[in-house]
C-alpha cells in the first residue's frame, strides 16, 4: 500500500490549477501530481505514491549508499580489531565528518 516507485520527470503540465508532470518509470510514462515537490525540475527522480510525488530521490545519496554497500568486501580488509564498530559504520561516519568539514 505504501509502495512508492522512483520515476524521472520528463514533462510538466497543469490540470485544474494543479501542478502535474509526466513521469517515466523505465519506459512506462504516467501522470503524477507534483504539488508537493515545488522545486522539482525536468530530469529529477521522484518517489511516486498513488499518483503523487512524495519525495525527490537524492541521486548523490543513492550513489553513495550503493557504493558503500558494494565496497563492503574491500572494507573488511581494512577492518580494525575493535569489535564495537564495523566497517560500514566507520565509512559512513567518516564520510559525514568529511562532508561537514
Amino acid at each position: 500500500m505504501c509502495l512508492a516507485i522512483p520515476g524521472k520527470i520528463v514533462e510538466f503540465h497543469e490540470r485544474s490549477g494543479v501542478r502535474m508532470g509526466k513521469i517515466d518509470y523505465g519506459g512506462i510514462t504516467r501522470d503524477a501530481c507534483l504539488e508537493y515537490i515545488p522545486d522539482a525540475v525536468i530530469g529529477d527522480y521522484v518517489m511516486v505514491h498513488v499518483g503523487f510525488a512524495i519525495s525527490k530521490v537524492d541521486e548523490e545519496e543513492a550513489a553513495r549508499t550503493y557504493q558503500i554497500l558494494a565496497e563492503l568486501d574491500q572494507l573488511q580488509e581494512l577492518d580494525t580489531p575493535e569489535p564495537e564498530i564495523g566497517p560500514l559504520a566507520v565509512t559512513r561516519e567518516a564520510q559525514r565528518r568529511e562532508e561537514k568539514t
Partner: protein, 372 residues
Amino acid sequence: MKFVDEYRDHDVAQKLIAEIKRTVTRPWVLMEVCGGQTHSIVKYGLDYLLPKEVELVHGPGCPVCVTPIEMIDRAHAIARRPDVIFCSFGDMLRVPGSNGDLFQVKAAGSDVRIVYSPLDCLRIASANPDKKVVFFAIGFETTAPANSMSVWQAKAQGIRNYSVLVSHVMVPPSITGILQSPNNRVQGFLGPGHVCAVMGYREYEPIAERYKVPIVITGFEPLDLLEGVLMTVRQLEQGRAEVENQYARAVTRDGNVPAQNMISRVFKIADRSWRGIGIIPKSGYRLNYEFRDYDAERIFEVENILAKEPAICISGQVLRGLKKPHDCPAFGKECTPQSPLGATMVSAEGACAAYYNYGRHMVAVETVGARG
C-alpha cells in the same frame, strides 16, 4: 529500472549478510513496521538468509489490513446506494466485511470503481454530476497527502458531489502501543521508509530515546532491508538506541513539509480503531470541521454501523509481533487469500497473505518456526 535494480544485487546482498553474521553475537528480535517491507522480506526470503540470532517479526503497517471491519461494512452500505459511484484503491475490494466484499457488492450491480489516485475521483465526479462519488480514503501517512489533496481540490474547484470515507492511521502511535504492551518482544524497528518520506523522522526520536529502542528508517528493496537489519543489529550490539536513516536517498529528517501542511489543513488527529488491535488513542486522522460537507460518514449517516471479527483469527497478535502466521490453526486451511478470515490475510502486504502467497503454508512448521 534506475534506483530499483541496483538495490537487488545478489553479490552485494551476500556481502551484507556476511557482515550481519559477523556483527551479531546474541539473539535479537526486530520488527519491520511496514507491510511493503514484510512483502519484500517474504518475497525474497530475506529472513531465511539472516543468521538464526536475528528474528524478524512483522508489524502493523498494512493499512488495508488494519482498516476496521465496521468501516468495510460502512463502505458497503454506501456503495450499495443507487445514487453512488464508490471508488477505492484496488486492494480494498477483496477485504471481507461482515457480509462479503466490495467485489460482491459490485457483482450485485453497484457502481464500484478502482482508482489509481484519489485525484481520478474528481474527474469521475465532474463527469457524473447526477451521482455522488465517494472515495474510500484509507492509508498511513504516505497516502494522506494524496487523499487530503483530493478533498482540498474538490472544495477549491467547487465539486459538490465528492466525499471521502476516511479511515486513516498513523505509524508512531502503533509503535508506541507495541512497546507499551507487557508481552512486547520487539527490540529494534526497521522504520517505515515512505511514511517518513512524507513525515520525516523527528517524531521517532523521542520514541527511540524513551523506550531505548533503535529505529532505523528503512527502504523496501532487498539491499535496503538487509542494510536496515545490519544498522539495527549494530546499534543493539553496541548498546545504542537511536534513530538512523538507511533510506537517505528518499527520506530527510524533516520530510515533505508542503505535504505535511496539506495534511494538517484537511485532517485532524483522532482516535482510530485498528482491525485486530482495537482503538488506539490519537492514532489516525479525520476530516477537519471545515470539510464536514465532504465527510461520507456524515452525509450517508453510516456512523452507527458496528461489526465484530470472527473469533478464530489471531491477526491482532500477528500485527503486534506476538505470533507468526503459521501459529494460527486456520492459516492456509480455512483462511486463505481467496477466503480470508481476518486482517493479515486480506491484503498482499499482510503477513499471513505474504506467507501464503510465497508458499510458506507448504513448508514444515518446525522449519519455519525455527527460522522465523
